[in-house]
Symmetry: C2
Subunit: 228 residues, 2 copies
């Protein structure tokens, strides 16, 4: 999980080939550039980490994200400097990562992890007007499908306070390790437990709001989040 | 979770005050600068996201991390460009984030999340010699306390292939929302389920290696990871 290399040196490659900025260099066999793999990881991840640069210093900020077609979106306060930096056209990097297991081999060196990650680079743009309303509805639905039609609609004031940005998936790559347990056969007799520990993001039993009127049960679309 | 602002503009403040680069600007009441809070979040997080810049382009790479005293560490292949960029003295940002719950209010706008995050900025340094061996042992022990004394010791060749870097916690801040459910009282009667969904990183039942000799049970230190 530590060895993903994506350094910008050359311009993007021809259409259909990964750009040099997102090409997986370390362990290239773990690199994937097809949108099916990339989209599935973006959709499975709850939180993205967005990197941007101010005066040469990178900052990495966690944010909820969601995908709609060929773009990944996130939102923030219009007063947020992260949002304002991004809206100014600064180059950014959005990364989503999921750990699927920890692999404890008989040596530290051969210990590893199964994981899935996506890196997207580019320049994001501010989303406005009807697209912004639709994007925010999509965010609500990404957590609980159909919920955007059930909640109290956004007010003009709320819309003004909320910024939404979109980043194209044109320059994106995935890196996946799904090889499971592996170890040096010479170490097999070393007298220590070895194996795999599954890891996942777990959603617990929903807790009703203290002021929830009686008779409103946990709906299917919220339950689906718990089961995912 | 979207509104953390940490932009570099002014030099670091006086000793004891947060530097301007890590001061929490949006929702400053969520900002924490005491090491107890920062350390607990770093220790609870499994994966960090490290940001660095190449030719003006930020990259954000997930990596396992661990803490030892006043530093956070991570490792990688000596062939990794991420590691080589960091070792060259480039400014970096390391971020760890944990989502504790998703809060579904009766509006999208008031929906939120409880979360804990830490941002560390600075220049990392390569760890060498005895400190490197100790750091890698500490990494193994961070996953399963005491395991570094149980596994097959590192070889010289493995040590040469592995790079370890350390980043001081001198410039670090935490941002925490732990307010639980909140909503606009005017929306309380809106006819939709509202409440909180707990979220956590869950470790499953350990799966023994296919070639594990009979009679080696899951030890306490691995079991502890599962229960954490």
């Amino acid at each position: 999980m530590t060895d993903r290399d994506q350094a910008a040196a050359e311009p993007a490659g021809p259409v259909g080939a990964p750009s040099d900025r997102v090409r997986v260099r370390r362990k290239p066999d773990r690199g994937h550039y097809d949108r099916e793999v990339i989209d599935a990881i973006l959709d499975a991840g709850l939180v993205a980490h967005v990197g941007y640069v101010v005066d040469g210093q990178p900052y990495v900020i966690p944010t909820f994200h969601w995908r709609d077609g060929d773009r990944v979106y996130w939102h923030g306060s219009t007063a947020s400097r992260m949002i304002r930096t991004i809206e100014s056209g600064a180059p950014i990097c959005l990364t989503v990562s999921l750990v699927d297991s920890i692999i404890l081999a008989r040596s530290g060196f051969n210990s590893s992890a199964d994981y899935r990650s996506v890196v997207v680079v580019g320049v994001a743009r501010a989303v406005t007007g009807d697209e912004k309303v639709r994007a925010l509805e999509r965010f609500v639905d990404a957590l609980a499908p159909g919920r955007s039609a059930e909640v109290r609609p956004m007010t003009e004031k709320e819309l003004k306070q909320t910024a939404v940005v979109a980043l194209s998936l044109d320059e994106a790559s995935a890196k996946v390790r799904d090889a499971g347990f592996g170890d040096d056969p010479d170490d097999a007799a070393w007298p220590v437990w070895a194996g795999t520990i599954p890891v996942r993001l777990a959603f617990g039993e929903p807790v009703p709001a203290p002021d929830l009127p009686a008779g409103i049960e946990v709906p299917e679309n919220v339950r689906a989040l718990t089961d995912r």
